[in-house]
């Protein structure tokens, strides 16, 4: 009996360790290849255990640090304001919808809900944003289309306000003579911090990872985020070479293309991979909340 139980746990760990290897192995190849000598990459290919290390890829990237720093700034300048704005708009809307006797509440809920059921499609959205709002090649193009308000985050937050915040608390605050905005800011929000952090994680990651808005609306390389540069490098392997001044200063003008690809991928992936363990609790909460109602 004891031995079969032990055998079972061994089996469980073997399965889970196999999953860990499957999940991490591609990242290991990416990271190791980014610090492999370019000649080794050309002869041996990408590998998790390179024969000879070399920093050409990163030297090349940081030879002209301006390009990579600009891409990071674009990503950050989209992710941070986008997430904040999204949280403000979503929270305000969700709180309004959670008010019990609000006239026309059902109509407004339906107005929100319908956006989850039916949409005009990609082309009409593209035409409206470009022909009427003229957002091509602006920072706004990376922040506003698609990502700012997700109906199901509103619904999740509304449900949270309805179930976790007793009516008496709102009423008590009103008797004190506080305005609605003050009640929301001073009483409701502090009680809703867990859900706000969860949704902030979800929205923040969508902004950090987004490349689709860039694909549709941005052609000006000054506005390329990290993800966007990665996307352009797939279309055009020489994208980086033609967009940096690194070429001339690098000896013999040899571009470490193979290593460079993996070095760029690593710069796009590693920051959020490092953050995950710290915010995992909230992220997992966000995932499970969004799933069933999403």
């Amino acid at each position: 009996m004891v031995s079969t139980k032990k055998g079972f746990y061994v089996f469980v760990h073997i399965v889970m360790i196999a999953m860990v290897i499957i999940c991490l192995f591609p990242f290991l190849i990416m990271i190791m290849s980014s610090v492999t000598a370019e000649n080794t990459l050309i002869t041996n290919g990408y590998s998790a255990f390179p024969e000879k290390f070399g920093l050409e890829a990163f030297q090349y990237l940081f030879n002209d640090p301006f390009m990579i720093l600009r891409a990071y700034s674009v990503t950050v300048l989209v992710t941070v304001p986008g997430t904040l704005l999204s949280l403000i708009i979503t929270t305000l809307f969700a709180y309004g919808l959670s008010i019990k006797h609000l006239p026309y509440r059902n109509a407004i809920s339906f107005f929100l809900f319908f956006t989850m059921l039916f949409n005009g499609g990609t082309v009409p959205s593209y035409m409206i944003w470009t022909q009427i709002f003229h957002i091509k090649n602006t920072m706004a193009a990376l922040i506003f289309p698609r990502l700012l308000v997700f109906a199901f985050y509103v619904i999740i937050m509304r449900t949270y306000f309805q179930t976790n915040i007793p009516e008496e608390i709102k009423e008590a605050a009103q008797i004190d003579g506080a305005g609605e905005f003050t009640v929301l800011r001073k009483v409701i929000l502090p009680m809703a911090i867990p859900i706000i952090v969860s949704i902030a994680m979800m929205v923040g990651i969508s902004y950090w990872n987004d490349w689709i808005n860039g694909l549709y609306y941005v052609t000006d390389s000054k506005l390329f985020s990290i993800q966007q540069i990665l996307n352009r490098m797939i279309q055009d392997a020489r994208f980086l070479t033609t967009n940096t001044s690194g070429v001339e200063t690098l000896a013999a003008g040899i571009v470490p293309n193979n290593g460079l690809k993996m070095a760029m991928a690593a710069t796009g992936a590693i920051p959020i991979m490092i953050l995950l363990p710290f915010f995992q609790k909230y992220y997992v909460k966000g995932l499970t909340l969004g799933a069933v109602k999403g």
Binding site: Y9, V12, H13, M16, L24, P26, I29, S33, L41, I42, G45, Y46, S47, I89, T90, Y95, G96, L97, I99, P103, T115, L117, F118, N119, G120, G121, T122, V123, P124, M127, I128, I132, V149, E180, I205, W208, N209, D210, W211, I212, L215, Y216, Q227, L230, N231, I234, N258, M262, A265, G268, A269, I272, M273, P277, Q280, Y283, V284, T288, V292, K293
Partner: protein, 310 residues
């Protein structure tokens, strides 16, 4: 009397005015981002010209839909979208449930958390980065598979990005790799809600681990499985654009097996500039998708009313 009623109503609306003010930004955003594009559906019935614009181009009735149906594109994109989604739903569900059951049996919170973090990494990163990871395996000249695996057996290199026949498998494998951690979490969160007492009682009666899984875990998972599956069926007409565009590196040789409705709409708009036809394809997706979501929700409601979308 009418005046009194409307006055009372007015007072009420005034009382709630701050709440309407709070909701205004989101309402404006939804109008711009979600409702204004609905008016653009007219593009599906026009022969778009720059001069005429969105609302003033020449109306052509259902011509765009006719052209779409005449080519074999409509059939290919529908087939690919649905078959891939079916494979994702079936394999993804089975695999994720298996891993969730395993994860639930891992002794110790710390190890559980570590396994969870690692299996979420593929889900967390962007699909563009995923495409690079896939490329590190499949690149013809420097890929891990060609160099390290096929090379060491002396097998000839395969040029992966120009041979369609392997791609149905590649796409499914990449999908599973990227998404299983997420789906595992969904099932796992149901499993941790089960009272340990059931397992202890079963163990006392001499039930094996396998029997405990079969008679306790799976029945508890059933509502979650049904709900998630029905919701996926409701979205069977939609595909992850990045998975089908980035991972095959937009390779034209692979369109037959990688083109879905979403990539077709993108290419129609941005590469061919055929606004009428790509709007038509998008509208086809929206309308069928709408019917499927309603149907799926109806089914969920019958089974477990709490999980229904509306």
């Amino acid at each position: 009397m009418d005046v009194a009623v409307s006055k009372k109503k007015w007072v009420k609306i005034k009382k709630y005015f701050p709440f309407y003010l709070m909701m205004l930004p989101a309402v404006i955003y939804l109008i711009i981002n979600n409702y204004m594009p609905l008016s653009g559906i007219i593009l599906a019935f026009e022969e778009y010209s720059v001069k005429g614009g969105i609302y003033g181009s020449k109306l052509v009735g259902f011509d765009n839909f006719k052209y779409l149906l005449v080519t074999k594109d409509a059939w290919i994109i529908t087939r690919n979208t649905i078959l891939y989604n079916l494979a994702f739903i079936i394999l993804g569900t089975v695999f994720s449930i298996f891993i969730a059951v395993m994860l639930n049996e891992v002794p110790g919170k710390r190890m559980k958390k570590i396994y969870q973090t690692v299996t979420l990494y593929p889900y967390l990163i962007s699909i563009v980065v995923t495409a690079y990871l896939v490329n590190s395996f499949l690149s013809t000249e420097t890929g891990f598979i060609n160099k390290a695996i096929l090379g060491s057996f002396g097998v000839e290199n395969i040029s992966w990005y120009s041979e369609p026949k392997n791609w149905p498998v590649i796409i499914v494998v990449v999908y599973l790799w990227k998404n299983f951690g997420y789906h595992t979490i969904l099932y796992f969160s149901t499993l941790i809600g089960i009272d340990r007492g059931y397992y202890e009682a079963a163990a006392l009666d001499g039930a094996s681990r396998w029997q405990q899984t079969k008679y306790i875990s799976l029945p508890f998972l059933k509502p979650t499985i049904i709900t998630l599956t029905l919701l996926s069926i409701g979205r069977i007409f939609y595909s992850d654009f990045g998975l089908f565009y980035q991972v095959p590196m937009n390779s034209g040789a692979l369109y037959d097996v990688t083109q879905t409705i979403d990539t077709y709409v993108y290419r129609g708009l941005m590469q061919l500039g055929d606004i009428g036809m790509s709007t038509a394809a998008g509208l086809y997706q929206s309308v069928v998708g709408f019917v499927l979501v309603l149907g799926a929700n109806f089914a969920v409601k019958k089974i477990s009313a709490d999980d229904a979308l509306f």
